[in-house]
């Protein structure tokens, strides 16, 4: 091995909780691996599963989706409706043969900077162990 594989992970974070949690992790100088590229969305309910697939097709090795904890959604139930979508798409992706830990979902509140850094560390390690994601990554020319 020449160089250790550094996975690229796209993180979709809701504006009100998880993005703020990531911010707090930064402000608190909590360390976590630099593998994630954050996309801020208004609510986890805004996440179309196509976002996840688009990330994978454009070369993401992993995808992390995080929203407010159930009961804490800024829009009351956005994350609860999303939870059903997330569960079914996660199961379907695993079923077709995308390794389960490539695409992970979690809840992180605005006050959980520590949880956010732990989460990113854990997802990064998981994806690093899996190696590059090639199944849905589109090779152009």
């Amino acid at each position: 091995m020449s160089e250790a594989f550094e996975p690229k992970i796209v993180a979709f974070l809701c504006n009100w909780c998880s993005y703020a949690g990531a911010d707090l992790a930064g402000v608190s100088r909590l360390q976590y691996p630099p593998n994630i590229r954050v996309v801020r969305v208004p609510c986890s309910g805004r996440i179309n599963p196509l976002f996840i697939l688009a990330a994978l097709q454009n070369g993401a090795d992993g995808v992390l989706v995080s929203g407010c904890h159930p009961g804490d959604c800024h829009y009351l139930s956005g994350n609860l409706v999303a939870r059903r979508k997330f569960n079914t798409i996660k199961d379907l992706l695993a079923y077709v043969g995308i390794e389960e830990k490539r695409v992970q979902f979690s809840w992180v509140s605005a006050s959980e900077g520590g949880r956010f850094s732990d989460l990113v560390r854990q997802v990064s390690e998981d994806v690093q162990k899996l190696g590059p994601q090639r199944r849905l990554s589109k090779e152009i020319a």
Binding site: L50, A54, G97
Partner: protein, 339 residues
């Protein structure tokens, strides 16, 4: 038997047209090859005699519902009235119709549903393969055996159950409920939903699951027959053809094809009645069932829902419960996280 049912369908249909209760009856008629039945549209009394019934009435007729109720943009106060239309409906057609009614594709009050109990439809592909690829010229089914004659004149006899569609063998709902008219006739014993197929696949390691999925999808030509044959795929503009943003490419490139099928199947969560219309429509013979079954099984397992005959209530993926399963959520630091 099928002749009696056919007559009962005609008898139910005739007054509906004659008395002006509906303007159109969607049913089945004899196809061009002398073998299978195909969709039929009866708008005049004379058309009623074309309506047929036998064990080749595989098409899910609910696929026509959204189009028949589609109107051009309406001016307030000058709306053209919606039509009143009757459907000959096996239980699977009826469940798709119910799913569409729930999604406001047609008001239930504008539909007259002629429910027909079902003993299972004969699988054209199985029969064709069993006779060596030759085309079937004629076909008879006495309820126990299916006798098929090829164009070349060879006769083949099959035990009926051996050539019944897989979807029908797993069918949990052979008897339609909630129809406006129900035709009398035999029905098969309810099946076991076929989730065993899903469990078998789940036992395989991811690489093997992927190998299976990608081998099957590599044959896709993106003709969209699966999508067009599916009653609950009625978007005016499918994500697969949107160009702003262009979610995926429009060709038969492997990742584009894979994502098309993954997302199309995902969009059927809580709506798919497992009729296999997609699979039968595929000109390449792709086995879509292995994956469509999963989404149905998953919604069953997670939310205890299978599309049924009840037009009330919300489809499972547009609603939630506070205590929905969330074992799939990653808990950082927890052992064996992420399911």
């Amino acid at each position: 038997m099928s002749a009696a049912i056919r007559d009962a369908i005609r008898a139910a249909a005739r007054p509906l047209l004659a008395e002006g209760k509906v303007s159109l009856i969607v049913g089945y008629e004899r196809g061009s090859n002398g073998y299978r039945c195909r969709p039929s549209f009866a708008a005049r009394a004379g058309d009623i005699d074309r309506l047929e019934w036998d064990s080749t009435c595989s098409n899910n007729l609910a696929v026509f519902l959204p189009g028949l109720f589609q109107r051009p943009p309406q001016k307030k106060g000058q709306e053209t009235p919606l039509p009143r239309i009757a459907f000959v409906a096996k239980a699977c057609d009826l469940r798709s119709i119910v799913a569409l009614v729930k999604e406001l594709q047609a008001p239930r009050g504008n539909l007259v549903l002629i429910g027909v109990p079902c003993t299972g439809m004969v699988d054209e592909r199985t029969v064709r393969e069993a006779v060596g690829g030759a085309e079937v010229a004629s076909f008879a089914d006495d309820g126990k055996a299916v006798v098929v004659r090829t164009a070349a004149g060879a006769e083949h006899r099959f035990e009926r159950e051996a050539v019944v569609q897989h979807a029908c063998r797993c069918c949990q709902f052979p008897v339609p409920q909630g129809a406006d008219v129900t035709v009398e006739g035999p029905a098969r014993t309810p099946g076991d939903n076929g989730d065993g197929l899903v469990k078998d696949i789940e036992k395989l390691p991811p690489a093997e699951r992927w190998a299976r999925f990608s081998a099957e999808m590599s044959r896709c030509i993106r003709c969209y027959a699966c999508r067009q044959a599916c009653p609950t795929c009625y978007c005016k503009e499918c994500f697969a053809e949107q160009n702003n943003p262009a979610w995926i490419g429009v060709g038969a490139e492997q990742t584009d094809v894979s994502i098309f099928h993954i997302v199309r199947i995902f969009h059927q969560a809580g709506r798919c009645v497992e009729c296999d219309a997609c699979l039968r429509a595929c000109p390449m013979g792709i086995d879509l069932r292995t994956w469509t079954k999963k989404i149905a099984a998953d919604v069953r397992a997670l939310y205890g829902f299978t599309p049924d005959f009840d037009p009330t209530g919300k489809p499972p993926l547009v609603t939630f419960k506070e205590d929905d399963a969330q074992e799939f959520i990653t808990e950082p630091g927890a052992q064996g996280h992420g399911g």
